[in-house]
């Protein structure tokens, strides 16, 4: 299946992706993101049943698992697009979210402050269709970073260049392919200099031939040392960049591991899933 085929990104040199878990470079010290005891129910269904995860600076975490396992909800909890019923999100030493039951109450940051440190890329791109590619990137620079129009445009253009779309700056989303739209969305999130980037199935809505260009941009980001949390079905790509791979099923983290998780999973559910998608 196309899902697991390592496409173009494998052509980029693997060794350049810093594998922080293995060399232990940043395993010590405060994690960039730490979520603790995240619980979330939609009506009678408990979709997250106590999730703990630490992401260190420069680390690339891949979350995978069957649909309905709660992987997107975990991702959306990190920037509180999904408000957990309980649990805590800690970014940059500040606690956000409702908190862990039984813990003493500490000062909790506002969701907007959290989101200004966390970038997110969606499955459906969510570009603003009435704005050009350049204005899509420049709008948040003006409204969030309070940049002047000219400065915002310049920074937006730099950001578009980084994803290889500078020459498409004046195009509207409707004039761009899905892959190009997703790259603009990546540029938009990147331009705000986030501490961590969240990717919610960024290639799932793309035609197969457009998947490669998006994964290539993400791979470059990984090489540049961006802290990333990626929900994906592209296990080939996961194997490529994942320092910490997280297998989720039915609202819990079943198993985690570095690359060997794909070669020799120990949990039978992980084994079944990896065998099924291979």
């Amino acid at each position: 299946m196309n899902d697991v085929q390592p496409t173009e990104p494998t052509s980029a040199p693997r060794s350049r992706v810093a594998s922080t878990r293995e060399n232990g470079a940043s395993a010590a010290g405060e994690p960039a993101v730490r979520i603790r005891q995240i619980r979330k129910s939609f009506g009678p269904v408990e979709v997250l049943r106590g999730i703990d995860l630490e992401v260190h600076a420069g680390e690339h975490v891949v979350i995978f698992g069957p649909s309905g396992s709660g992987k997107s909800t975990v991702l959306r909890s990190i920037n509180l697009l999904e408000q957990p019923d309980s649990g805590s999100v800690c970014v940059d030493g500040v606690e956000y979210g409702p908190g862990v039951p039984g813990e003493p109450v500490v000062r909790r940051g506002r969701p907007m402050e959290l989101r200004r440190k966390v970038g997110m890329v969606f499955q459906q791109f969510n570009l603003f269709p009435h704005l050009t590619a350049l204005d899509n990137v420049a709008l948040p620079l003006r409204s969030v970073k309070q940049m002047k129009s000219g400065d915002a445009m310049r920074k937006a253009a730099e950001s578009l260049r980084r994803v290889g779309l500078l020459e498409r700056a004046a195009h509207y989303p409707g004039q761009l392919s899905g892959g190009q739209q997703q790259r603009v969305a990546i540029a938009r999130a990147l331009s705000l200099d986030p501490k961590v980037m969240l990717f919610d199935e960024p290639t799932s809505a793309l035609d197969p031939e457009l998947v490669g260009e998006v994964l290539r941009v993400m791979h470059e980001l990984a090489v540049d040392g961006m802290t990333m949390v990626v929900v994906t079905h592209e296990l080939g790509f996961a194997r490529d960049i994942g320092d910490l791979n997280v297998f989720m099923d039915q609202g819990v983290i079943v198993e985690t591991g570095s690359r060997e998780l794909f070669e020799s999973p120990t949990n039978p559910r992980t084994q079944d899933f990896i065998r099924a998608v291979r």
């Binding site: 920037n79 697009l81 969701p111 907007m112 989101r115 200004r116 966390v118 970038g119 997110m120 969606f122 459906q124 969510n126 570009l127 603003f128 269709p129 009435h130 704005l131 050009t132 350049l134 709008l139 948040p140 409204s143 969030v144 445009m153 310049r154 253009a157 730099e158 260049r161 500078l166 020459e167 700056a169 004046a170 509207y172 989303p173 409707g174 004039q175 969305a185 938009r188 999130a189 705000l192």
Partner: protein, 245 residues
């Protein structure tokens, strides 16, 4: 009796009175359009908001969507002066009646337009750290406006036609002018044909104007005027790209 016994020249004789009637109709409708747009937007927000304000909006919308223009204007012109002792001019009464009625319709137009903007766009704005008000004005409202525009055009045409009922309070609009001319000439077929033509042509003109607006708001913008405006922006981007290259 052949069609030759109709005096079609009458239309020419009454041209200035008829066109003045149209002007009055357009004036009343245009003022009411502005008020109903603002009112409709406010009602749409209330309707999509929390109870009990959403219920108030819902009741308002259902009451005034069900009221005929004729009844409303009589009620405003005669009823309000009886109740409150306020005497409106016929022009004011017409504007108030249309504003009240069409705010209710506009509320539904704007509500459906706002709801047609994908939810993901708000989420994207939030994820970028934008404030809700900023997301509304920079992301949601421009898209909703574009979606709503053709329906706003239809509303405006409806308003112009509804002014015909204001003849009942003596507003000198197209129908009133037609009635007066008929009283002098006894040529109802000719005169009402002229009135019909005036309404149809007015509706056509409004349609053309709104189509221009739609083209200008499409992404990328279409139409000559927006192409000129866009050229300036394109030039700015290309200068910037030139700098960066």
């Amino acid at each position: 009796m052949g069609i030759t016994s109709y005096d079609w020249g009458l239309i020419w004789d009454y041209r200035s009175a008829l066109l003045h009637g149209l002007l009055i109709a357009l004036q009343v409708s245009a003022v009411a359009l502005v008020i109903a747009t603002v009112g409709g937007l406010g009602l749409a927000m209330l309707r999509m908001g929390r109870a009990p304000l959403s219920w108030v909006a819902l009741v308002y919308i259902n009451v005034f969507r069900g009221m005929p223009a004729l009844v409303t204007v009589i009620w405003i012109y005669f009823g309000v002066s009886l109740l409150l002792g306020v005497n409106f001019t016929v022009f004011q009464a017409g504007v108030i009646a249309l504003s009240l009625l069409y705010s209710a319709f506009m509320a539904e137009v704007f509500r459906s337009a706002l709801q047609a903007v994908p939810h993901g766009h708000r989420e994207a704005g939030l994820a970028l750290g934008m404030r809700d008000t900023r997301i509304f004005f920079s992301v949601i409202a421009p898209q909703a406006f574009k979606i709503a525009l053709p329906n706003v055009g239809s509303m405006f045409i409806g308003m112009i036609k509804d002014t015909s009922t204001f003849t009942v309070i003596g507003l000198l609009e197209v129908v009133r002018v037609t009635q007066n001319a008929n009283a002098q000439t006894f040529q109802p077929f000719v005169l009402y044909t002229a009135a019909a033509a005036i309404y149809v042509l007015a509706a056509f003109a409004v349609d053309v104007v709104f189509r221009f607006g739609e083209a200008a708001l499409s992404s990328p913008p279409k139409g000559r005027v927006s192409r000129v405006l866009r050229a300036r922006k394109q030039k700015r981007i290309h200068t910037l790209l030139g700098e960066l290259a």
